[in-house]
Symmetry: C2
Amino acid sequence: MATKTVAFVYLIYKLITFVNSEESLNSILFNNSQYEFIDLTHSFDNNTVYWPDMQNFIFTKKFEQLSAAEKSWYAANDFAAGEHGGTHIDAPYHFYQSGIYVGEIPLEKLIIPLIIVDISSLVSDDPNFVLHKHHLDYILNNNLGKPCLLIFKFGWSKYFHDREKYLGITTGTDTLNFPGLSAEVAEWITTSYKNVVGIGVDVASVDPGSSTDFPVHKIVSKAGLYGIENVNLHRTVPDTGCTALVLPMKIAFGTGAPLRLVAICPKRNPLRF
Amino acid sequence: MATKTVAFVYLIYKLITFVNSEESLNSILFNNSQYEFIDLTHSFDNNTVYWPDMQNFIFTKKFEQLSAAEKSWYAANDFAAGEHGGTHIDAPYHFYQSGIYVGEIPLEKLIIPLIIVDISSLVSDDPNFVLHKHHLDYILNNNLGKPCLLIFKFGWSKYFHDREKYLGITTGTDTLNFPGLSAEVAEWITTSYKNVVGIGVDVASVDPGSSTDFPVHKIVSKAGLYGIENVNLHRTVPDTGCTALVLPMKIAFGTGAPLRLVAICPKRNPLRF
């Protein structure tokens, strides 16, 4: 009798959730306040960090006028930028000639479960840290084999407003110094975890700052994954359970583009099981 | 007995959905394919429609090089643009000096239930159509008093790739001709429907093309609503039940910005009630 009751309840539950599914996204997001929206994007202004040989973000006031007679105000600006600065996406075409452009990345890869791989305690502020396979158990433990975005937290967002420190610029040399992934990790992810659609980092490049041949960019691009650089991880984001909204400016033939990156995350629920 | 069973089932249902709520956003979006993602954004390229006195989108190839020796490829570009072209957002500051910038619009207004007000059959391709209050019963019927974005469909997206037709440029005059909202409708929405957080249109301006004093922009900006112009409505979007993702490039002090606009919509469900 108990088994029958459970089966009956489950059947009714599935039926209700199936039939009512059309209303449920809005109701789950907005009716019960069970989710919060976390902005993982650095703002674009004249101080936004760009890669050394890229066009910085330049913001030019074009109109800013108050008309007392008409009691009206009007303001508008122009801007110029390279594709690869601030919080941005790298399309596969950036490092792979047969790869797709920004405008071609399907939405199914841009609205996607998010896994945060927090290795900031391992990095411990070392600008020469390189992530190797032996450092990682997060991926093995949290990767469920379904499409997802991995974002690696090196703990570098706190330096974003100090460009020299963030990029690890050493006076008198061309070398940059900030942490990144090893080619070994990129190979491992792209061959063993074909469900991963993109890789993000809270530093200026998926390759370490000292890299000159960019193997991680090449491996990831060739495998069809996109990259996200300069993720803003000032706020703590749960390792699992969030949905990433990865919505770049839709530059049709872009090798990259400014990105608005948001995580929708469950608020803490004491009854979770 | 039947009443008790129903009450029991409902209780169990609420308990299950509450306790499991932390898993449910990802499961609802990705496990059962009950939702689809619809891109409401026009791509940015050298043909993207901009307002006449704005800087067009200019895309400049910076690097595009194949290194045979290293078997590697590298490509990157620069771009320049005005804030107000293509599919973009207008921040309240655009037409109201005390209004907020793009970078200040809270995410709670950018991830939001979507109501499509399809008046394309009324417009019937007339470039001088102006929407008045007496045309509208959609808002009264579908507005539930909760925060939402209204997008008005004039049926103009089909002209986007023909700039002269889209803007209604008449040779020898400065006048533009495309449909838009009346000041009456803007006043009505901002005073009677304080739950509306933004207004979008599938034309180049919320004001009609022939407007020279832009009352709709002024009313909407002063009321703290954002505007969305050049929405891409090539595809049919359900009038209600979708969630809008309104994610602009995060230009800190922007009066406007390129926008990636996506709707997450329920697929048709024959059992819906």
